[in-house]
């Protein structure tokens, strides 16, 4: 037998072994006497957030006939190996008994996997998956009304309520409809937590109007909905627990969480007031999903197989059988050129706009500088807190995972500083264009700044044209309204307003999902316009800048008192016409400028 045949046989054997291994793969089953871990609950609502202490509760069951002393070890993993971060707890579990155990780990990154070990054996461990929430709102109801459905809010056992304020780090709102039976430490933790910014919602108790609180929690008797207690607040709602809905908390108490059901309400507020809440993760998540790039994969594979099949046939027929090699090379190169052209044409049919969404970068940790939003990045990293790539045209810090993507014009060497001429020229260009922007460098008041930017925003003849504008201060974000948007500058097609547009896309999304169930044709349904996509990008920028910027890069993000950070999205300047090779794509430039504010007093 020739080696080639042996190799073929060997490859068949490997494939058979592989498929056999896959086909016979089964769920891992524990031995009857093994320790069983169940009911794993992260945090207060099943989600975790980064940079936070999050309680972890789980049940340990000992199905054996003898009691066991266990050393539980909770380990953080970085995906390849254990990180030297370990939480230990020694417990005794009697025979046939299950026991509730609670850990309080510090979650650095919500995506980090954790492992629970109760022995050194390979079957004495469990990977604990976390469900990350970018800005999760953890609510707690400790109700004595068993009929209360509480609008799907998670309940928390009174007994296991954390007794340290640290453990309440991930809790945003505590909802009570009775006085819980807590220990002194638990009550103290609750009071400290409220002082540090926690919020309590007091509902109408069963058989009364107000909840009388005893020693330890009596401070709750003396404050009303508007009275702060330290940095926190206590609100009273005259509704019983059974009528309480989660959306009530989100809408009236937090005012930050935006669910799809509240979307219309918020958008109406936006239309009415000209500004929008800065945290719009739900909206952005929806937009991200709407803008997801869907390919017609059957078409792609069809093209690929046609091309490969043709090349195979040409090679074997003209190369191996015919004597004239010119035909072979001509046909090969010709097929390559034709296939390339066909694919290029197809890539522009129905895909161009979606492609543009993907070309947009999000300058998340917004620092002063001039950013190229046409550079490549991923929307998901911008939304989910990952790192992204962006280029800085001007100076300013560049963030990245151990890798910087920006080109600094100044290079420090042993002998001194060198100037990288091309980068320096680009920077000079950027500053020159910057000079064409509205003059906001003067000592303006906040109102003057808004007026100046509004005038620039609504002036369609300005150069460069400003498409979006926002002002960030240390405690607020104001997105400037485009009151004349109905006059056609940025109007997204047939939709009369952003609210209409989002409603329309939400409906389309449902249709598209149904189409997806049938095949790949659903991707043909939705194609956002260019301006819509840039709008999304800007929205994400603002949301992420404020939310992630504060959480992840507090030092670099904080806008000092007396200053404002202006974010402008303009046309891509013609002076930086880098898109000469692809003129269809027009970019946007993002300017982030720190300006001093003059006090109005």
């Amino acid at each position: 037998m020739r080696p080639r045949h042996y190799l073929t046989g060997l490859m068949s054997l490997c494939l058979s072994l592989y498929l056999g291994a896959v086909a016979t793969a089964q769920n891992i089953e524990d031995s009857p006497s093994a320790i069983q871990v169940s009911d794993v609950e992260w945090g207060f609502d099943g989600t975790v957030r980064g940079k936070t202490f999050i309680p972890l509760r789980l049940n340990i069951k000992n199905p054996g006939d003898q009691g066991r002393d266990l050393t539980l070890r909770l380990l953080r993993s970085d995906g390849l190996s254990d990180v030297s971060e370990e939480y230990r707890q020694q417990i005794h579990v009697s025979a046939g008994i299950s026991r509730r155990v609670q850990f309080l780990p510090f979650i650095n990154d919500a995506s980090d996997p954790w492992i629970l070990r109760w022995g050194d054996g390979d079957d004495e461990m469990l990977e604990l998956r976390t469900n990350g929430a970018d800005d999760g709102v953890a609510c707690l109801v400790s109700s004595n009304d068993p009929t209360a459905t509480t609008g799907a809010l998670p309940r928390w056992d009174e007994e296991t309520f954390p007794s340290s304020v640290q453990a309440l780090d991930g809790l945003r709102v505590l909802v009570l409809d009775h006085e819980p039976v807590w220990t002194r430490a638990q009550k103290k933790a609750c009071e400290d937590w409220v002082r540090l910014g926690g919020r309590i919602v007091l509902l109408k108790p069963t058989g009364g109007d107000t909840i009388p609180f005893g020693p330890g929690l009596e401070f709750l008797n003396h404050i009303d909905a508007t009275t702060p207690w330290g940095a926190g607040r206590v609100s009273r709602l005259a509704i019983p627990a059974r009528e309480f809905q989660r959306s009530t908390i989100e809408r009236h108490i937090l005012g930050r969480r935006l669910s799809l059901g509240d979307l219309q309400h918020k958008l109406e507020m936006f239309e009415r007031n000209g500004q929008m809440s800065y945290d719009r993760s739900q909206v952005l998540g929806t937009l991200k999903e709407l803008a997801a790039f869907s390919q017609r994969w059957w078409l792609i594979y069809l093209m690929v197989f046609l091309y490969v099949g043709y090349q195979y046939r040409v090679g074997s027929r003209y190369g191996l059988l015919l004597k004239n090699p010119r035909g072979l090379y001509c046909r090969m190169v010709g097929a390559t050129v034709v296939a390339s052209i066909v694919i290029c044409v197809l890539s522009r049919v129905g895909f161009r706009n979606a492609d543009r969404v993907r070309t947009a970068a999000i300058a998340r940790p917004v620092s002063p500088g001039v950013y190229d939003v046409e550079g490549w990045a991923t929307l998901s990293t911008g939304l989910n807190g990952g790192l992204h790539q962006f280029s800085v045209v001007g100076d300013g810090p560049v963030y990245g995972a151990g890798e910087s993507y920006g080109q600094s014009p100044v290079r420090v060497t042993e002998q001194g500083c060198e100037i990288d001429q091309p980068a320096f020229a680009t920077q000079k260009m950027a500053y020159r264009i910057r000079a064409n922007l509205p003059d906001i460098s003067g000592n303006l008041t906040s109102g003057d700044l808004q007026t100046t930017l509004l005038a620039a925003l609504r002036n369609p003849t300005g150069s460069p044209r400003i498409h979006e504008a926002a002002i960030l201060t240390g405690s607020s974000l104001l997105r400037l309204p485009r009151a004349n948007s109905r006059q056609g500058i940025l109007e997204p097609g047939s939709s009369s307003s952003m609210a209409d547009w989002i409603r329309e896309q939400t409906v389309r999304q449902h249709h598209r999902r149904r189409f997806h169930a049938l095949g790949m044709w659903g991707s043909l349904v939705y194609s956002p316009s260019e301006e819509e996509q840039y709008q999304m990008i800007f929205d994400e920028l603002l949301g992420n800048a404020f939310r992630v910027g504060i959480n992840v890069y507090p030092d670099s993000f904080v806008v000092p008192p007396g200053q404002a950070r202006v974010v402008l999205m303009t046309d891509w300047p013609k002076e930086l016409a880098f898109t000469g090779d692809y003129p269809d794509i027009e970019g946007r430039m993002l300017y982030v400028i720190d300006v001093p504010l003059r006090s109005t007093e």
Binding site: P325, I343, T413
Partner: protein, 524 residues
């Protein structure tokens, strides 16, 4: 009349080129290579399909993978292909025959070098529609795709002409290929290496060296294909025709003209050059070759290709000296440069050991196969396994100085100083090295030259495309199963061990079959 003369001149000039192209058009191996390349691209598209639901910008990632793979294949496999363009004629003694056939120097160079460059260019050209799929998948523009391929083509032409030049200048194939690979790597990563040296301050007190290195770095920075590809993929504003293309092509033309000018000088007297017998006892005998050991194969392997006790001892002394020097001048070097000499010595020792291991793998049966002594070796009344063990034993003996030195250097420098990453990564590298050795042994019995390059190329392709595809296929097939996703314990190393064991086992089997086939061919 003048036109006719010019036409005849050009026809004669291009005669060898068109002959070679015609031969390659009918060559089944070239056809399989092209189709294999297209199937590989299909696999990359399937990977993009799988990841498209998870990540955005899949097209860009696809182009990044494609261009990185091509770049590595050009420098690893391409160097071997281009670096043997003249030396193979020298070694086979056929260069004189070509000259006698009336080919001019220019015609010879064009026919030998340009044909190879064009055939490889065709392989990469066939990838172009797949690259344009990247535009459809999102994340890259057509201009970027064209810029990537132009940059790669310029780099390949440069490596082709580097190979031509070194192949002309060197007498032996191995030296020409090594120099081509090394220079190709310098073109890719030279600026980064020099940048590292400058940043680490190794030349702080030597200003002229610093100045020279900075000048070289600036030049390499322009011509570096790695930097160019990064720039193209990362920034949309990069020109399609960057300075890298111009410099590479200019350098290529210079190398070609240099080869043309030096052709006669370096090919005179090579018509009858016979391959130097590398197993010549006189070449390596220092001492200790008089008494044959009981294990004659091990004795032969240890003393002749490896150099025997003399080289063994000399190597040990040099390495011991290097380690001692590293310890002695540590403080002085640190004060001067701020970096640790012991680390450099340790890295050097480990690198040397790996090079020796790969060299031994290539020579394990390759030396006998190429010198035609393998059939005679198989006639010795010993089983193949005994022979293999004897050869491995000789190899292990040969490796003692470098491995002991590597261990000592690691001990001196501190293990944590050299490597502090996850244990699994170290295991994966070790498994990769073992697989590379097996592949090298296998290819040394399959190809005339470039076994190591072929092995590296196979491993690169497998690592970049095949293994991720396998992982994705497993994930898709077991989507509804509860798989332990922890990267600890057996769950972590079992797949690695499975792939390594299956790969090594299969390659051992194939190698044994190749040895038997070689023996049978020799007998017949």
């Amino acid at each position: 009349m003048t036109d006719l003369t010019s036409l005849v001149f050009f026809m004669k000039l291009l005669a060898l080129l068109s002959h070679t192209l015609a031969h390659q058009a009918r060559c089944p191996v070239a056809h399989r290579l092209r189709i294999g390349n297209l199937l590989l691209m299909t696999l990359i598209v399937a990977m993009a399909h799988f990841t498209a639901s998870i990540y955005e910008g899949v097209g860009r990632e696809m182009i990044r993978l494609l261009s990185g793979l091509d770049m590595l294949l050009i420098v690893v496999a391409g160097s071997s292909h281009f670096g043997s363009v003249i030396t193979e004629e020298k070694e086979q003694g056929t260069l004189g025959l070509l000259k006698l056939a009336g080919f001019s120097n220019l015609g010879l160079l064009l026919g030998k070098s340009a044909a190879r460059v064009l055939s490889v260019l065709l392989i990469f050209l066939l990838q172009l529609p797949f690259a344009f799929l990247g535009v459809m998948l999102g994340g890259v523009s057509p201009g970027q795709v064209i810029a990537v391929f132009l940059a790669l083509a310029a780099f390949m032409i440069l490596v082709g002409n580097l190979g031509l030049f070194f192949s002309l200048v060197c007498r032996r194939n191995s030296l020409a290929v090594s120099l081509t690979t090394l220079t190709g790597m310098l073109v890719i990563w030279g600026d980064s290496i020099i940048g590292f040296i400058l940043t680490a301050g190794h030349t702080r007190r030597m200003l002229w060296v610093t100045g020279a290195l900075q000048w070289i770095e600036s030049q390499l920075n322009v011509i570096s294909i790695d930097d160019r590809l990064r720039a193209i993929i990362m920034f949309r504003g990069v020109d399609i025709l960057g300075p890298q293309i111009g410099q590479s092509l200019g350098l290529s033309v210079g190398l070609f003209l240099g080869a043309w000018a030096l052709f006669d000088r370096f090919t005179e007297g090579t018509e009858s050059v016979e391959r130097e017998p590398r197993l010549s006892p006189r070449r390596w005998r220092l001492w200790g070759t008089t008494h044959v050991w009981k294990n004659a194969i091990a004795w032969k392997d240890f003393h002749f290709p490896s150099g025997g006790w003399g080289i063994w001892l000399a190597k040990g002394l040099v390495l011991a000296g290097a380690i001692m020097a590293g310890m002695a001048f540590e403080a002085q070097y640190k004060a001067m440069t701020g970096s640790q000499l012991r680390e450099i010595v340790a890295y050097g020792c480990v690198g040397l050991m790996i090079i020796e291991i790969l060299q031994l793998a290539g020579n394990l049966f390759g030396e006998e196969y190429h010198s035609g002594t393998l059939p005679n070796l198989l006639l010795i009344p010993q089983s193949l396994s005994q022979m293999v063990f004897s050869k491995l034993w000789a190899g292990a003996l040969h490796l003692i100085p470098s491995s002991v030195a590597a261990l000592a250097a690691i001990g001196v420098a501190g293990k944590e100083q050299l490597y502090s990453g996850p244990q699994m990564r170290l295991l994966a590298w070790t498994a990769g090295l073992i697989l590379l050795c097996h592949l090298t042994v296998f290819y040394s019995l399959q190809v005339k030259r470039g076994a190591l390059a072929m092995a590296c190329a196979t491993l690169i392709v497998a690592g970049a495309v095949l293994l991720p595809s396998l992982a994705m296929a497993t994930q898709m097939l077991l989507a509804d199963q509860q798989i332990p996703r922890s990267f600890q314990g057996p769950e972590a190393w079992a797949p690695l061990a499975y792939i390594a064991i299956m790969g090594c086992g299969g390659l051992q089997f194939a190698t044994v079959m190749a040895i038997h086939r070689a023996g049978e061919e020799g007998v017949s």
